[in-house]
C-alpha cells in the first residue's frame, strides 16, 4: 500500500506510548503480517561539559522533509516486500526520556523487516531536513549533530 501524495509525518511534541500501542493494535486486523519491527528514537539526557540535556526542540523544512519522507517510503516499498510502513517524527519540544521518532514496518516474514527498518532509519537521519536544538537544564543550548 503506497500513497501517491506525501503525508504529514510530523507530530507536535513527543510521541506517546499510548499512540504507539494503539498503532500496534490497529495492525491486528492485518492477518497476512507475521513480523513487525519498530524503531523508537528517545531523547537522551546527555551530560556535556557538566550540563545535562533537558529537552530537544525540533524544527524542520517541513515541505521538503515531508517530500523526503515520502521518497524514503516509496523506495522502501520498492526494495522490500512490506505490508505496512509508518513514520512519525516530533516537531517542537521533546523532553529527555520522551520519544521523538517512531518508525514501524510490517511484513509477512521477519528477514524483510530487519533490513527495511534499518534502511529507513538511516535514510531519515541522512536525508531529511530536521534540526534538533539540545536545551540544557540551565536553558543554554547547542545544536544536535547526528553520529
Amino acid at each position: 500500500m503506497t500513497d501517491k501524495k506525501p503525508k504529514n509525518v510530523f507530530q507536535d511534541g513527543a510521541i506517546s506510548s499510548e499512540f504507539i500501542g494503539n498503532s500496534i493494535y490497529k495492525h491486528q486486523t492485518k492477518t497476512s503480517i507475521g513480523a513487525h519491527n519498530i524503531f523508537l528514537g528517545q531523547v537522551r539526557a546527555d551530560v556535556i561539559e557538566g550540563k545535562t540535556v533537558a529537552a530537544i526542540e525540533y524544527t524542520a523544512y517541513e515541505a521538503m522533509a515531508n517530500t523526503k519522507f515520502h521518497d524514503i517510503r516509496e523506495t522502501a516499498f520498492e526494495k522490500f516486500e512490506l505490508t505496512c510502513m509508518h513514520i512519525y517524527h516530533s516537531l517542537g519540544t521533546v523532553k529527555a526520556g520522551e520519544i521523538c521518532l517512531f518508525v514501524f514496518v510490517s511484513s509477512p516474514r521477519r528477514k524483510v523487516v530487519f533490513e527495511a527498518l534499518e534502511f529507513i532509519v538511516e535514510a531519515i537521519k541522512a536525508d531529511v531536513p530536521v534540526f534538533g536544538k539540545e536545551i540544557f537544564e540551565d536553558e543554554s543550548h547547542q545544536w544536535k549533530v547526528n553520529s
Binding site: Y58, A60, Y61, I124, K125, P129, V130, F131, G132, N146
Partner: protein, 77 residues
C-alpha cells in the same frame, strides 16, 4: 529576480531571520552565497547545504526564482 530565502536551525540563529526576499540578478547559487556571506558574516563559519525548490543544489546551479533554503547538518531522530 525576487528570491525567497529560508534559514533553518543554527543558520537562522546566525542570520537572525527565518525567511527573507532578496532581489538578485539571474545568476548562480555561488553568486547568491557571495551576497549572503557579505550580508551575514557569521555564515562563513557555518556548515550548510543549499536547496532550491526543495532539492539540494551545488554552487554552479543557476537560480530559477524558486525558493532557496540554507540547511545546517540534519539531526532528526
Amino acid at each position: 529576480m525576487l528570491i525567497t530565502i529560508k534559514y533553518f536551525g543554527q543558520i537562522a540563529e546566525a542570520t537572525q531571520t527565518q525567511e527573507e526576499q532578496l532581489d538578485l540578478p539571474q545568476h548562480s547559487i555561488g553568486d547568491l552565497l557571495t551576497v549572503l556571506y557579505s550580508k551575514y558574516s557569521a555564515l562563513q563559519l557555518k556548515d550548510f547545504k543549499i536547496a532550491q525548490n526543495q532539492k539540494l543544489v551545488g554552487l554552479d546551479t543557476l537560480l530559477t526564482g524558486e525558493d532557496i533554503a540554507l540547511l545546517p547538518p540534519f539531526s532528526g531522530g
